[in-house]
Symmetry: D3
Subunit: 165 residues, 6 copies
């Protein structure tokens, strides 16, 4: 059985991520969407919230699991017996960072493949940060994220505004 791991922060999951997950599910026997708990920046959603939002967005795909991990990605991938790490490539700006990570991961785990997929061009310039920036200023993000995320992110910013008072 060929397992692919799709790692990320997913704060929150966007339609671009979901597009990549759908494509991955046709390529691998099993896809694990793996939420990193490594806190680089202060996230908007907790790990639990992020995993729930992913789960509700991809529940129709039977061969997709959602997990979190808190260690070096290559070690986690080895434990899961993964054949490959899956990464979405949207634009040139992604490209070099992704290459760097793929090369470093290969140095750390010789047989672990990195597989790059390309989302629909509709999602080329979409990422979680821009979704949050637009939502924060009350912009309409309904075409960028699934409905569950749309509702949750509105709630989140209302909470934050109340808390700021």
């Amino acid at each position: 059985m060929k397992i692919g791991i799709y790692p990320g922060t997913f704060d929150p999951i966007t339609n671009g991520h979901i597009d990549i997950i759908h494509r991955s599910a046709t390529l691998f026997d099993k896809v694990i969407v793996a939420v990193t708990t490594n806190p680089q920046k202060s996230p908007l959603f907790t790990i639990k919230e992020r995993m729930d939002l992913i789960q509700s967005s991809v529940h129709s795909l039977e061969n997709v699991d959602v997990e979190s991990f808190n260690e070096l990605l290559v070690n986690y991938a080895e434990k899961r017996g993964a054949a490959a790490i899956i990464r979405g490539l949207r634009a040139t700006s992604d490209f070099e960072y992704e290459f760097q990570m793929a090369l470093v991961n290969r140095k750390l785990s010789k047989n672990l493949l990195t597989v790059f997929l390309m989302p629909n061009e509709k999602y080329t310039y979409l990422n979680s940060t821009i979704v949050k920036e637009v939502a924060k200023l009350n912009g309409d993000i309904s075409c960028f994220v699934p409905k569950e995320v749309y509702i949750k992110i509105k709630e989140k910013f209302q909470e934050l505004k109340k808390g700021a008072k």
Copy 2:
């Protein structure tokens, strides 16, 4: 009347920005230089100071106004009846970020155009951050910014050094 909006942080305005404003003023009937009040990083100059520096730098251009805005750019542009958002493209590194923003803005406001202009190649690699870094270490920034900004930025760093003592 065709209105173009040139949004930015302008912390502070540089000769590169001024070059774009001059070009825009020949393309549009009216150009609004719009200072965002959205505090991403801690700015060196206050909104008021930044607006004053822009004003004194472009006062010779009759069809240019200076404003500030505190909402989603596309909403602000719609209120002003703008035909287009104006952005300067200096180098490849700007390119993808600008594209992302333009695509997102188009999703949010279907008829709002983004127009890209290119500054003189003298200003290709100039931005506000580098001006501040050089000024902070007492480098000569007189060829990067208008005279008013040159004087003001020196004062600002002297204040900051006094405050640090």
Copy 3:
């Protein structure tokens, strides 16, 4: 009256070009689509055929004219009294070439502006060459070009195949 010139080879016009022409028509009082007769490579369509295909694709736009030119672009633009040259920016790979041309044109004609517009992301990776390559191998190009071009390009390749026999 502000005139914009949109120069190109248009061999043949694609949906991406048409998208740029529509946007330009809202920005300028008059847009001239200018087909270069400068034969860099052997074109598939004659100047006359290319102009006819453009004409039939944009006839609904009242302020758009189609012309051909056979001289230095900046000289042609000056004769027409153009305020700006219009260029579509699709991807990073376009960017540097376009910059080079814009800088050279500015050197040759100081007050001539180059204005960059961005097509819908649907057309990001579309160009005339790829349309011809796909059509040549009998691929379906109906989503890449207007109907008139679709019909004409099929005829053209049938002629060429007959001629090759």
Copy 4:
């Protein structure tokens, strides 16, 4: 059974191509290396020679076949029942062209995936053109290509020199 198609000109196959084929062979149940007969430029090796050189270079891999094709890639892939097209991504300059092709192919065949793999960084800047340029000037290409190609390319250039006399 998941089939991946690795298309290209392979004029001739390099160590970079071989690296991608090895990686692909662990990801797919079967990999078809598909030599295009579409003559864009005048190739150094005939289709038959190119296929033989690929065959001798990858004969140790049991799940790899070598074929040629003479039609639209997506049509060929559909006939073979391929799940994905495989492409190597070496550097930023590859990136946009590959994206364009992948997007066009997706338009032409909705369910066909394009999967990008990255060769070892040793092969980052290696391609068939540079191998031929160095070989033509008697440079040592033994670290760029398999031994069979090394021998054959020397023979080829000696033939060409004799023919030129």
Copy 5:
């Protein structure tokens, strides 16, 4: 005597930096590795630690000195009588930032050259940040840094973990 200055944060020095220093030492009569004390981000190692790690890594090179500096780079270079600033170029993403800095430095000191060298492709995607990220998660960084750095960085993270308890 031609002096080259190789400035940087070196937090910590990697095999990629060392590769550049070795190349520089064949080009210049004297190379000064210059550690900036300008605290942009909170560094892992102190200036003293970073200088010691560089020193122990390049002690075999007789014409290489290690220094620190706390002023505008061009002023420091002038004081040292340097003919050139040395920068490593690893990938496209470095390129534009380096260009910007080189252009600004030229504006500030007209005769100061910036010389770009390229590390071995093995180090193309290596930088200090990635070394620290991998080390923090107990990954094996022995192929990325010299032995002294390998030992020291392990100690550092053990101290930090103890301190965090």
Copy 6:
């Protein structure tokens, strides 16, 4: 004595090339401008004409020689005892090609350095091809090339037009 080789086609030399030669002459004890006789495309000027134009453009620099070469660059560089190959980097689009060549050259000649210099930003987007394209259409190229080239290129195109009649 440190020798740098600046190879190229120089068809014809531009102000950008001259800028790089001036910079190189301060870095190396001797600079050899080396015109390749390898005919990739049909050049406008003969080797002899190109060498004469370079000579007349840099005659004020005592440590600069002009030569031609007809073999693998690394072999030629070794014969001349060169410490480094000099290349100008103007823009991102140059970058990857130059990297590829530098890496291949390093493979072929282990100790040969490639040194990248950056021309004045005035020349960022200048190259021989664009000079010829503008000159061919009677555009004014006086700010792109030295006076000798300006005169010679006009003569050349007048000859070509006569020949075409």
